[in-house]
């Protein structure tokens, strides 16, 4: 082993300094070339979103039209991958350099609002805008994105669920597929589903008429949900939720857990052209409005109709669970005024008819009756008549959404886990809901110990 001599150390230090100077020059060049710039010297509004592939040009068209309408601001869009968007966003907030507008797909507005990550939006509305927002938008648009009296997320896209059914399967079973004659009660729909079930010689299910699954999807029709507006608290172990979960589990038991497991294992993934409804593995499927465009693309010759999920006896009609996406202004945004200009332009607060063009391009539901009645939206409904059911659902007061509590991601995760346990037959529906309440109570007390107010 050799020891480092002082002469060697000096030449090494000289080398390091030379490389350092060269590096500094390179760093300066790189920093300069990466500096932001906008056309016409406008104020840049940085906007991050997750719309990729075929949706990216659709989204960029909104930005282009906004920029064309502006002399003051210029929106600079940046597409970030959906799976990693939250990491990038939260890191940028923690680092003090967030975008000015952030699209949010994660149902976590309350969580982030409590963390001080988002800015309130309703304080920016002019009286005219507030009047439109309060009195004209559908309840699902107006009532979401709030936390403790402030609006932190402007709802843009809304997913609601209705029954898709295959007309040919109905005809083969001797049932009229006319939407006007679709069962008016859940009991009637369940009986029809039984009639449409098919098995092979070994008794394995080859087609399921109607398979209810997912507590979140069925609780609204039973009058259930996960949040009580009157007490402003979560409501989980309720008689309505118990009825909904019991109904799902009873149907699974009727078909046989083992048979269902084998049947589910034989199904293709749920995405795009692989949706099992397309290949006839199911006759009736409760699914979202985006399937209308997918069916037009991947199965243009399939004859199908859409009808709302009928309510059971004592339940609520025109009910659905809903997932929404939002536009938000992060705390620390440098150009929040420009951000709000962009949000209200896209939401159509000044001109719902103009925004109808964007909603139809995305295949989104309208945000208000004015938007639904616009010529652009009516033309869209003419092109996709099955969309009408979803538009009617969007206007319903019986839409259930993610509870506005700061532990909403934990809550939805536990609801899903409890539902899964019951549907697999590991616990009874009653035990699943009691376990769910216990888990949530424990989480809340832990949060209190950590200093959170709820």
């Amino acid at each position: 082993m050799a020891e480092l001599k002082s002469g060697n150390a000096l030449s090494l230090a000289a080398g390091v300094i030379a490389v350092g100077l060269l590096g500094w020059w390179g760093i300066s060049q790189e920093r300069e070339s990466a500096a932001p710039h906008t056309a016409h010297g406008r104020i840049p509004v940085y906007y991050w979103h997750m719309w990729s592939a075929e949706w990216k040009p659709v989204m960029e068209n909104v930005v282009t039209e906004f920029n064309a309408s502006q002399t003051k601001y210029e929106v600079i869009p940046l597409q970030v991958p959906y799976g990693n968007a939250d990491s990038k966003f939260l890191l940028s907030v923690a680092g003090g350099d967030p975008p000015d507008v952030m699209a949010q797909w994660t149902q976590a507005i309350s969580t982030w609002s409590q963390g001080g990550i988002l800015q309130p939006l309703e304080t920016r509305m002019t009286p005219t805008e507030k009047n439109y927002f309060d009195n004209e938008t559908y309840p699902v648009i107006h009532n979401n994105g709030w936390y403790k009296g402030h609006l932190y997320g402007m709802v843009m896209g809304v997913d609601v669920y209705a029954c898709y059914y295959r007309a040919d399967d109905f005809k083969q079973a001797g049932v009229d597929p006319d939407p006007a004659k679709f069962p008016s009660t859940l009991e009637g729909l369940t009986a029809l589903g039984k009639k449409l079930d098919r098995t092979d010689a070994s008794g394995n299910l080859t087609r399921v008429g109607f398979l209810p699954a997912g507590l979140t999807q069925f609780a609204p029709a039973f009058g259930g949900g996960f949040y009580d507006q009157s007490t402003r608290d979560v409501a989980l172990d309720t008689p309505q939720n118990l009825k909904a979960l019991t109904y799902i589990v009873d149907e699974h038991n009727r078909l046989g857990m083992d048979r269902l497991l084998r049947y589910n294992a034989s199904l293709k993934p749920q995405n795009g052209a692989d949706w099992p409804f397309i290949d006839g593995s199911m006759s009736i499927s409760l699914d979202g409005e985006w399937r209308v465009q997918q069916l037009a693309k991947f199965a243009p010759n399939l004859k199908y109709h859409v009808a709302p999920l009928p309510a059971p006896a004592g339940g609520k009609p025109m009910a659905s669970f809903s997932v929404t996406n939002f536009l938000t202004i992060p705390a620390g945004a440098k150009h929040s005024e420009g951000a709000w200009e962009f949000i209200k332009f896209w939401a159509g607060m000044d001109n719902p008819a103009r925004a109808a063009k964007y909603n139809t391009a995305f295949g989104w539901l309208p945000s208000s009756p004015r938007m639904a009645g616009s010529p652009v939206y009516q033309a869209y409904l003419k092109k996709y008549p099955e969309y009408k059911t979803f538009v009617d659902l969007a206007a319903s007061k019986n839409i259930v959404t993610t509870p506005p509590v700061p532990y909403q991601m934990f809550l939805m995760d536990r609801i899903s886990a409890a539902d899964d346990l019951a549907e697999r037959g590991s616990v009874t529906p009653g035990m699943a809901l009691k376990g769910l309440t216990k888990d949530v109570t424990r989480e809340r007390s832990q949060r209190k110990e950590l200093g959170y107010d709820e």
Partner: protein, 307 residues
């Protein structure tokens, strides 16, 4: 000193050469029928690993309607596109600015490979061949950073780079590679420790400085190990998703690995284009590995990381 009777292939690689000879002797010792059976078995074992690659290439040549064809059941016959859509490739190259992404990726690869290999070999040489106070604790400290997940340091490192005004530039991805990469330092330290001490001693007696010994003797001898590190670094940068995700905010600065995700969407995506671009994305790596595999395997064997 340059005429010292030493060759990189013979130093430290005896074990690898012997093992290679043994495996070749095993196969050459078989009868033609046995050899055929052995190769068939090996090819069959390769199939599960190659199937995703076949699927990628096959999907890249299919029309959209065939990719998710639900009329039949899955089988190897489904892998064959009919007819092959060669125009998926030019379309895929137009779907994203492939040329820009490729240029950005190669730019990053070049700098990080140069930075990581040069700095790591210098540090490794110090740990392996020089005596200084606190060497062992420093080496242990350096090694322990390998176990530290990137997520743990993500926020403070991000804050640091933002403070330096490097956010939005390539600098957070390039500059750290010039400060040594712990894994390569570890590999190269093992390599330098295995080189005969006599070589350096002879040079030292001839009056060579420590720098000259490193530069003219040790570095040429460590070519296989350096090539291994370079290949690891190249692959790491080529496939890096997290770095561009966190630090790059300009689509014109995207790399291939990051830019290609734009072809995917939650309810669909442009699969034919994605797979065509992915095939082009994978191709240079396959070719690179094909041409450098001997050096690469030799490097792995001689750095002690094989076991």
């Amino acid at each position: 000193m340059s005429n010292l009777p030493v060759d990189a292939g013979t130093v430290g690689s005896t074990g690898f050469m012997a093992a290679s000879r043994r495996s070749r002797a095993f196969l050459t010792g078989l009868s033609p029928a046995q050899r055929f059976l052995a190769h068939t078995a090996l090819l069959l074992l390769c199939l599960p690993a190659l199937l995703p690659l076949f699927w990628m290439v096959s999907t890249s040549l299919k029309p959209e309607t065939q990719i998710f064809d639900h009329s039949g059941t899955f089988g190897l016959a489904n892998l064959i596109p009919h007819p092959a859509q060669w125009n998926n490739y030019p379309k895929a190259l137009e779907a994203v600015p492939f040329e820009i992404y490729l240029k950005n990726t190669l730019f990053l690869c070049a700098f990080t490979v140069i930075g990581a290999v040069s700095s790591s070999s210098l540090v490794a040489y110090g740990f392996a061949r020089l005596d200084f106070r606190g060497k062992t604790p420093l080496f242990l400290l350096m090694i322990s950073t390998i176990a530290l997940p990137a997520q743990v340091t993500m926020v403070p490192v991000f804050t640091l780079f933002r403070w330096l005004h490097w956010y939005g530039t390539y600098l957070p991805m390039i500059v750290p590679s010039f400060c040594g990469v712990p894994f390569y330092i570890f590999l190269l330290t093992q390599f330098y420790r295995n080189l005969p001490m006599e070589l350096a001693e002879a040079a030292r007696v001839d009056g060579a400085s420590e720098w000259r010994i490193y530069w003219q003797i040790m570095l040429p001898l460590s070519r296989p190990a350096l090539a291994t590190c370079a290949l690891f670094q190249f692959l790491g940068t080529w496939n890096d998703f997290l770095g561009p995700l966190i630090y790059i905010n300009d689509p014109n600065r995207y790399t291939l690995a990051y830019g290609l995700q734009q072809l995917l969407s939650t309810h669909g995506g442009e699969w034919a284009s994605l797979m065509a671009d992915s095939t082009i994305f994978v191709l240079p790596v396959v070719v690179l590995f094909f041409f450098t595999q001997k050096t690469f395997v030799q490097g792995i064997a001689t750095t002690g990381s094989k076991n």
